[in-house]
């Protein structure tokens, strides 16, 4: 009975997601870059990057209770891996101005020669997956010493490791791989993503990041709902009790940490393809803080919350509150007050209000489907009664 209901729910969810993706693909074709609505596309692109980053952080902070602040570091690893493996041969020398490029492979290029425009897509996908894997390896190495630490010590140690990663990637001696402190550019970016079928070209510049984020978030949802996910929650609620129940703390913490970093790496790769550049100095701890604030805004421990939080965050800072920076907001013209930076001030005040007075964020620890059933409380009560009688 329960199984059947679940199947039905999954089916509906799948349809909703498919419709959403189709809508994005249509928007991609309809909206031109010069349109006023092109902001919507920017929001969708950046929103999906941050949504993925926020959800992966939530997996660690909200579901496993490991307060880690190393996200920017793993995103950096992902962004660099993606960038390095998609720089085409002809622009390699201009990118690596001061060094001899050590890695001379570009996945999309290699596959394009065999498979046409489909090869480009496959190459990009491969590079993204590799980005996640490299980030995961870094996370495994870092996790070995760090995961033994408790709460704030863990936070500060992961923050420290993110800073170390940043320093290592900027080191001149690694220049042939990372291009030192110079930025990486000219790699495959979203504006060039097109699929040619016969005569028609389908633009996919928004569709690709959204698709990557959707698939990854779906995977995280599956993980959270699995046995592993339940173990994570048990660790979050009470470490000692979880250990007493036979959960291997070290193993589960490591799984959560590595998985979260894998998806952070993917988010970093997506960010690189959206922005078109990758530079280590952009991945400061401030980026981790921003992602953390998105998670808090949406509600710690809610995946839907993180998605909503990050899309709202991006939409507000990129689109709705733009006027605060450029002189005119809601029809009020006050260039003296509404000048550069005011948007971020207003924004941080809103966040402080949420942190102080609405500590649960937008969703608390609920998911979207929970809100759609008004009698959820009763049903869960019944279910728990049944379990007891069993």
């Amino acid at each position: 009975m329960l199984q059947k209901k679940d199947n039905k729910k999954n089916f509906i969810a799948l349809i909703v997601v498919a419709l959403f993706l189709a809508l994005v693909l249509v928007l991609d074709q309809v909206i031109k870059p010069t349109d006023k609505m092109s902001m919507l596309l920017t929001v969708l692109q950046k929103g999906s990057v941050y949504a993925l980053a926020a959800v992966s952080m939530n997996l660690l902070n909200g579901f496993t209770g490991l307060f880690s602040l190393g996200h920017a570091g793993f995103m950096l690893v992902g962004a660099y891996t993606y960038a390095i493996f998609t720089i085409p041969a002809e622009s390699r020398d201009t990118v690596y101005q001061y060094y001899d490029a050590a890695i001379r492979v570009s996945f999309p290029e290699v596959l394009r020669s065999g498979l046409g425009s489909f090869g480009t897509v496959l190459g990009v996908v491969l590079a993204v997956v590799l980005a996640g894997l490299v980030a995961a390896v870094f996370a495994w190495l870092i996790g070995l010493p760090v995961l033994k630490l408790k709460s704030d010590y863990l936070a500060i140690a992961t923050l420290g490791f993110a800073e170390i990663i940043r320093a290592v990637f900027q080191w001149g001696k690694l220049g042939p791989v990372t291009n030192g402190s110079n930025l990486l550019k000219s790699f495959e970016r979203i504006s060039t993503f097109k699929l040619t079928v016969g005569e028609t070209t389908i633009k996919m510049s928004t569709f690709v990041p959204v698709l990557i984020a959707t698939v990854c978030i779906a995977l995280i949802v599956l993980l959270v709902n699995s046995t592993y996910g339940r173990s994570f929650k048990a660790i979050r609620d009470d470490e000692i009790a979880a250990e007493a129940m036979g959960i291997n703390l070290a193993k589960h913490k490591m799984i959560s940490f590595v998985t979260s970093s894998f998806f952070a790496g993917v988010a970093g790769a997506t960010m690189a393809m959206v922005l078109g550049i990758a530079q280590a100095s952009n991945f400061k701890s401030a980026m981790t803080y921003e992602i953390l604030l998105m998670v808090v805004l949406g509600g710690i421990g809610s995946i839907t919350g993180s998605v909503i939080g990050s899309v709202l965050f991006v939409a507000a800072s990129e689109w709705w509150l733009r006027g605060l920076d450029s002189g005119v907001f809601l029809g009020i013209n006050a260039p003296g007050i509404f000048r550069n930076g005011f948007r971020l001030v207003v924004f941080s005040v809103i966040i402080m209000v949420v942190v102080l007075f609405f500590r649960k964020g937008i969703m608390g620890d609920k998911e979207l489907p929970d809100l759609l059933k008004p009698r959820a409380k009763k049903a869960s009560k019944k279910a728990s009664k049944k379990e007891v009688t069993k």
Binding site: F67, P145, V146, K148, L149, S151, D152, Y153, A155, I156, A157, L159, G160, F161, E163, I164, R166, A167, V168, Q170, W171, G172, K173, I240, K284, S285, A286, Y289, E290, L292, L293, V296, I300, R339, N340, G341, F342, L344, V345, F347, S348, V349, I351, M352, V355, L356, R359
Partner: protein, 308 residues
């Protein structure tokens, strides 16, 4: 002799930087000792102290500007505690930490808005930014007086904590928050006093720190703040002498790593520059991780046991 000659400048500037870190680290360690909170906003308060000094010194003579700057910084520290931390006193520790990160974000953005993101030149304070010559090398006077000033201030603080009523209250609160409350200690005023002392020292530290740097930008509080926190952890968080010794060690190590290329080249160990200076920040964090893994309580920290 060559080794000493080439290392000395870095050693002296390291001691000076260490003293500045020590003044910031005390704010971290005291707040952590009492509230068990990493006050992420402390580094930004330090930056604000620098900015306030820039603006005040443009408007009034220094002998008014300096005390007023210290007063305003202390007021800021006090306000932050009252507005952002006090309402969360009974909330989980993670919430308070997030609130601290939020405050740090807010202060940085506010500073960005006010300054327009431009580098603000720090005023030259007469006497302390004069050039002096010691051991045959030229440096500013602030480099020389910083360690002494730090030691004097720390000694005064230790006296305050060990021999006054408020100091006793602080020790009691850091030992056991709830029992202290039951014994009639007004914890809110004790916590406020802690923040006032911490920000006071950070304000003085900012004066010494920024004199040696070209200017203040909204993000210039972040790194010194994090390093001071590492110093506090290194020395054993909650312990004031520990924080000071940790800060000096970190300051010296960092400064020597910055100059390691030059030192090694001069002494003929290596023939070309390797670029160690990139790692001067990373080293601090590597040290932090080593300490946390092998001796989580730091050099002078007390052992804590978890109760089920």
């Amino acid at each position: 002799m060559d080794l000493l000659q080439s290392t000395l400048p870095y050693l002296i500037s390291g001691i000076s930087v260490g003293g500045q870190y020590a003044l910031i680290a005390i704010g971290y360690t005291m707040v952590y000792g009492i509230l068990r909170l990493i006050n992420f906003a402390h580094g930004d308060v330090f930056m604000v102290a620098g900015l306030v000094m820039v603006y005040l010194s443009a408007a009034m003579p220094l002998y008014i500007a300096i005390p007023l700057m210290i007063l305003l910084t202390v007021a800021l520290g006090f306000t932050i505690e009252r507005v952002a931390y006090k309402p969360l006193r009974n909330a989980p520790r993670m919430s308070v930490m997030i609130s601290a990160i939020g405050v740090s974000y807010l202060i940085q953005n506010l500073a960005l808005y006010i300054t327009g993101g431009l580098n603000k030149n720090y005023p030259a304070i007469p006497w302390i930014s004069d050039k002096v010559t010691i051991f045959g090398m030229e440096t500013t006077r602030v480099t020389v007086i910083t360690p002494f000033l730090t030691v004097i201030l720390v000694a005064a603080l230790v006296l305050l904590i060990n021999h006054t009523k408020i100091g006793m209250a602080m020790r009691a609160v850091s030992r056991d928050f709830e029992t202290a409350q039951l014994m009639g200690i007004k914890i809110n005023s004790v916590i406020s006093a802690t923040f006032i002392i911490g920000t006071f020292l950070a304000a003085i530290g900012s004066m010494l720190y920024f004199t040696n740097y070209p200017g203040v930008v909204p993000t210039s509080g972040g790194m010194p703040g994090l390093k001071a926190f590492v110093a506090a952890v290194f020395g054993g968080i909650g312990s004031i002498p520990g924080a000071v010794i940790g800060a000096f060690i970190i300051g010296i190590c960092e400064s020597i790593i910055k100059g390691l290329d030059t030192i090694l080249v001069v002494n003929g160990v290596i023939t070309e520059q390797v670029g160690f200076s990139t790692f001067s920040d990373a080293f601090t964090f590597a040290l932090l991780i080593i300490v946390l893994v092998f001796k989580p309580t730091g050099l002078f920290g007390e052992k804590t046991t978890d109760k089920v």
